[in-house]
């Protein structure tokens, strides 16, 4: 027996361990929970049915006994029989003999189910009993008038019948309850078969249910496991059930969409950057090859090498701007965020560009409200201001005006650069924040301009990293207004822990004397 029993015992142990530790697999846990729940429910149902049946059978029996005892009681009352009458009738004399005959007949009708009747006097002395009456330990104390009792496998009902004497006559009727136990027992046998069936069926059902419930999850796992950065087109199936799993799939799909867009932008930027780097590289290479390719005068060498330095500068500019784009990770900016005195920053930039504006006969109007500050990264915000001013001056014809203003509006700080240039053509407008986008060169006043095409996209990235927004309002022929909205509006005069550029001044004497005019 033991070799037979040990594997199933081991399985049981394993199952118990799984339940106790809480199995890692969601499917196993669902299965176990489901099986337990089914078994407990089935057992409760069985107990309920069993008890209900017993109650119903006993109740029916009680009704029969009550009817019988009433009938006998009426007969006794009709005869006005006393204990003495019954006693003499038992010996075949007196007026009660007819009653006893009736009772004997009644018993013989009910014989097959063990029915009995007995008559007693007030002192529990038996006057007469039918043939099948068992000996039952019933006493004055245990019995009540017209209340059925269960004693030793019998159901017994007693009636106290008033007589002409003051002491009542007791009639006791009863029947064995073994048939009730037999019926309940047959229910039990059915139930045991049911339990065995459930023991097998419930876990199987649970397994099936769990698998059905888990299948969408498995699909999600399989699909996401297949995704690769270079193969992002696959999406999770939406089953149109609008349940939690569908919502999970939809959320994951949205996330994948965003990643796909981000990846393609990154790839485009990388490809475009490589192309843009080629141009100055080609120039550098050609100049140097020309320089070492033949005998040149020192004058020629100097010219060629100067050109190389010029091309290096444009390479450097492009690399710096790409680095800046990479740096506009908002986490980085938030981590090193400090209070930036935007008013003096904008004024300094405007001062720097004033000479350029003057040389191009453009009026640069400074309408900067004093003492406005925001939290952010000063170096990057300055890039935004410089870029906007540079663009505005570049695209405004002589005699025009560029107006730079800084003011507070609600909880935000607004930087606005408005020019009276030609405006941005409607065809270009959707693309101006794209990386490496350059508008129609013919519009540009400065012919030799060699912008990287990254300026505005850098502005947008920096502003977004500061959780701000940048708007463009342009009318062809009458000008462009660029508006930068930065969240927060601080007072630059408030004390601050770290002065913007403070640590530069500490370490760097060549920078410490800067801003003498401000």
């Amino acid at each position: 027996m033991i070799p037979m029993a040990s594997p199933s015992f081991a399985q049981l142990l394993k199952l118990a361990h799984m339940v106790r530790t809480g199995s890692k697999s969601l499917r196993a846990r669902l299965m176990i929970w489901n099986a337990c729940l089914v078994m407990v429910t089935a057992f409760a149902c069985f107990l309920g049915v069993r008890e209900g049946l017993r109650q119903a059978l006993v109740g029916g029996m009680d009704n029969v006994l009550t009817a019988d005892i009433r009938e006998i009681g009426l007969d006794v009352a009709e005869l006005h029989a006393t204990a003495a009458d019954v006693r003499s009738a038992a010996n075949g004399k007196g007026k009660a003999t007819q009653l006893l005959d009736t009772l004997n007949r009644k018993e013989s009708v009910h014989e097959h189910n063990g029915w009995f009747v007995e008559l007693l006097d007030a002192d529990e002395n038996r006057l007469w009993k039918s043939d099948l009456t068992p000996e039952l330990p019933i006493s004055e104390k245990t019995s009540r008038d017209m209340v059925p009792m269960s004693i030793k496998g019998y159901r017994v009902l007693e009636s106290r019948q008033p007589t002409t004497q003051s002491r009542p006559l007791r009639i006791r009727v009863g029947a064995p309850t073994d048939f009730i136990e037999r019926d309940v027992g047959s229910i039990d046998r059915i139930a045991i078969r049911g339990v065995v069936f459930l023991l097998i069926a419930a876990p199987l059902l649970g397994y099936w249910l769990a698998r059905r419930a888990i299948r969408p999850l498995s699909d999600i796992i399989e699909t996401t496991a297949r995704l690769r950065p270079n193969r992002m087109e696959e999406r999770l199936a939406i089953r149109q059930t609008d349940d939690e799993l569908d919502r999970l799939s939809a959320t994951v799909n949205q996330f994948l969409d965003r990643i796909a867009v981000y990846l393609s932008q990154s790839n485009n930027l990388l490809a475009n950057s490589a192309h843009e780097l080629r141009t100055p590289l080609a120039a550098i290479r050609s100049s140097i090859e020309v320089a070492i390719g033949g005998k040149r005068t020192p004058q020629e060498y100097q010219e060629l090498l100067s050109e190389v330095i010029g091309e290096c500068a444009s390479l450097e500019r492009l690399v710096n701007q790409l680095l800046l784009l990479a740096e506009t990770d908002s986490e980085l900016i938030r981590a090193h965020s400090e209070q930036v005195d935007l008013s003096s920053l904008v004024s300094r930039c405007a001062e720097m560009f004033s000479a350029v504006a003057e040389a191009s006969q453009i009026e640069l109007v400074n309408a900067v409200d004093p003492n406005l500050a925001v939290m952010g990264f000063g170096n990057h915000l300055r890039q935004v201001i410089n870029n906007l001013l540079d663009n505005a001056i570049k695209f405004t014809p002589p005699g025009g005006t560029v107006r730079v203003s800084l003011f507070r509006e609600g909880g935000s700080t607004i930087l606005r650069v408005a020019d009276t240039g030609g405006g941005i053509p409607a065809a270009d407008l959707p693309h101006i924040f794209e990386r490496f986008f350059r508008g129609d060169r013919s519009r540009q006043r400065i012919e030799q301009t060699t912008g990287t095409g990254l300026g505005l996209s850098i502005c947008q990235a920096i502003v977004a990293a500061h959780r701000g927004r940048i708007f463009v309002d342009t009318r062809e022929g009458s000008g462009t207004i660029m508006t930068v909205q930065l969240p927060g509006a601080l007072d630059a005069r408030a004390p601050r822990a770290l002065r913007e550029g403070g640590e530069l001044a500490d370490h760097n004497p060549t920078l410490a004397t800067a801003r003498s005019e401000s």
Binding site: G451, E503, P509, A514
Partner: protein
């Protein structure tokens, strides 16, 4: 000046050594952090040029070891990192100055001179370059017997050029000094400011003091250029 260059990149290291020797500096070049640290601890230099990314140890580790062992030699850090990291790592670690790769050679020499001058630098009341004099208190310039009025920006630019008289000053150096800004956009903001200044100090004279060095920047010198 006696200089120690700790730079692993061969072409850059060689160029630095040659260029610094040309500018009449004694230059020792090592290619890893360990040798650099040994030399920095055992010999006296006027300044150390330290690359942050070295093959054997971090440049900042070298700097740390030097400082903890009491070497106070000015250190100029070279870095290829982004601007945010530079500010966070480079300057807070005890470097005296830093330069982002790629850099203009005149800028390196200017920074080195600024570093070595740091201890002995005494601001004088007037700068004089040839016929040009700049009064630091009245903030006025004069060339010969002509008095020149200067705007605050023009004064700052001229003072900087005169401080490095005879040496090339790049546009980037000027923009950083005057506006604390490293704008390298396409518009030559600096050129326009220099032109304004030229209009004031060179107009009407035969010999221009402010000269453009093609591809580099500007130089202010009194005599005719002889070598360049």
């Amino acid at each position: 000046m006696d200089l120690l260059v700790i730079e692993d990149e061969a072409v850059l290291g060689k160029a630095l050594q040659r260029g610094l020797s040309d500018s009449h500096h004694e230059c020792t070049w090592v290619r890893n952090g360990k040798k650099g640290l040994d030399l920095g601890l055992s010999q006296r230099f006027d300044a150390i040029i330290l690359d942050l990314l070295l093959p054997d140890m971090e440049g900042l580790q070298v700097l740390d070891s030097l400082r903890t062992r009491g070497v106070q030699t000015p250190v100029l850090v070279l870095t290829a990192l982004g601007s945010v990291e530079n500010r966070v790592r480079g300057l807070k670690s005890g470097a005296d100055d830093y330069l982002v790769k790629p850099f203009a050679f005149p800028e390196l020499t200017a920074r080195l001179e600024a570093l070595s001058r740091r201890s002995s630098f005494r601001p004088s009341m007037t700068h004089t370059v040839g016929p040009l004099t700049l009064d630091m208190t009245t903030r006025r310039a004069s060339r010969g017997d002509r008095e020149i009025e200067l705007s605050p920006t023009e004064f700052t630019v001229l003072e900087y050029l005169m401080r490095f008289a005879g040496q090339v000053v790049t546009r980037k150096m000027l923009s950083q000094h005057v506006w604390d800004d490293d704008w390298d956009g396409t518009t030559n903001v600096i050129d326009v400011h220099i032109n304004r200044l030229r209009n004031k100090i060179d107009r009407g004279f035969d010999v221009p003091l402010i000269q453009t060095v093609r591809g580099h920047g500007y130089v202010l010198r009194a005599a005719e250029p002889s070598a360049l």
